[in-house]
């Protein structure tokens, strides 16, 4: 059975997320909140442009780590859930199917549509997004950027490989690294990410 991305997106985008009695959203072992995309763009872009080169690089590294944690734990929590076992697990026959399922699941969070371009089992994953929010805003406000600005998709792409081909959860995090090789903020038509083994 092939992975039915549309079905995964339909199931996971339906209905309201569960809350505790005080209104906090808790699901898949994480606490979640909605926020405006402009909020994240403005905070990060302003900090990067005001900070020293060293501090900006440190911030980018910390953001990558924060999203990697976010993706690794959220995707693990989702794939361990009853809903996943009922709806998604029957679609999965190989580790590669699991990568496609996790990418489909990512496409319910409102961050732009990510798709797989190339997958070499256990070695390499190439993903692409045409409509990430931040790159367009960087172009509008600051002009072409010297490097990609999509720390979120970069870390997500590494996390799929970590979960599927890394050591069993939670030890596999950081098994793969990811580079953004094209970004709309640099003038490219889309943003593209390549995850490969982290040999450090």
């Amino acid at each position: 059975m092939a992975v039915d991305a549309k079905k995964i997106i339909s199931v996971y985008s339906a209905g309201e997320l569960p809350r505790d009695k005080k209104g906090i959203i808790g699901v898949f072992g994480i606490y979640a909140a909605y926020n405006y995309n402009e909020f994240f763009y403005k905070i990060v872009s302003r900090t990067l442009t005001q900070a020293s080169k060293e501090e900006a690089e440190r911030l980018e590294s910390q953001l990558y780590k924060a999203v990697l944690d976010c993706a690794y734990y959220t995707f693990h929590g989702a794939s361990a859930s009853m809903l996943w076992r009922e709806i998604v697990s029957p679609m999965i026959e190989t580790p590669e199917d699991e990568i496609y399922a996790l990418v489909a699941f990512t496409n319910v969070f409102g961050i732009g549509y990510l798709k797989v371009i190339e997958l070499v089992p256990g070695e390499k994953l190439v993903t692409r997004v045409h409509n990430a929010y931040d790159p367009g805003r960087y172009l509008e406000e600051y002009g072409p950027q010297p490097r990609g600005r999509c720390y979120m998709f970069r870390a997500c792409t590494a996390s799929y490989m970590d979960l599927v081909y890394g050591a069993p959860f939670p030890k596999g995090i950081g098994t793969f690294k990811c580079k953004e090789v094209k970004c709309r903020s640099m003038g490219d038509k889309y943003c593209e990410f390549i995850a490969t083994k982290n040999l450090k």
Partner: protein, 176 residues
Amino acid sequence: MNLSKYIFNKKFFPEENLISICGVLASLHCHHFNCGLLKALEELNGIDGLGLFIKTTEEVYLQAFSDYLKQHRELKTIADKLQAASEMYYAFGFGELDLSGLNEQGGIAKAISSYYVTAWLAKYGRRHSPVCYFTCGFIAGILESIFNKPKGHYRVKEVECLMTGSDFCKFKVEEI
């Protein structure tokens, strides 16, 4: 809390993986990222990362809540607008925020639950200082919207926090 009176329309566009809330693009993020971002800003050297976080939150929600009020002209009283802001905060998942003690000059706001407290405890454990910087910026922004004040008109300080052992988070609001 009357959730039926105030509407925060959330639309999902599956072909694009976009979410709009009240017509503005939004996304859902977990505590690992939200707290990781806050911690990274808190640890910056040579730049007031937390000040930037509060000011940006204020700016974004001044704009967002002004847009919301333009779409909901049926909200005429100050009490109604404050309640709508409180329910926007709830709808986004930030917890329960009582804004009824605020007026044009400022006042006191209270939160009986806080996303950032819950999230920080889950991610990093207990700390000995307040953590609700987002709420400070949010309160400033929505008050400036309601009372038609410019950005930077209000100063909001969290004087008690669930994180540090209080029964609720307490925010003191003053005009600058």
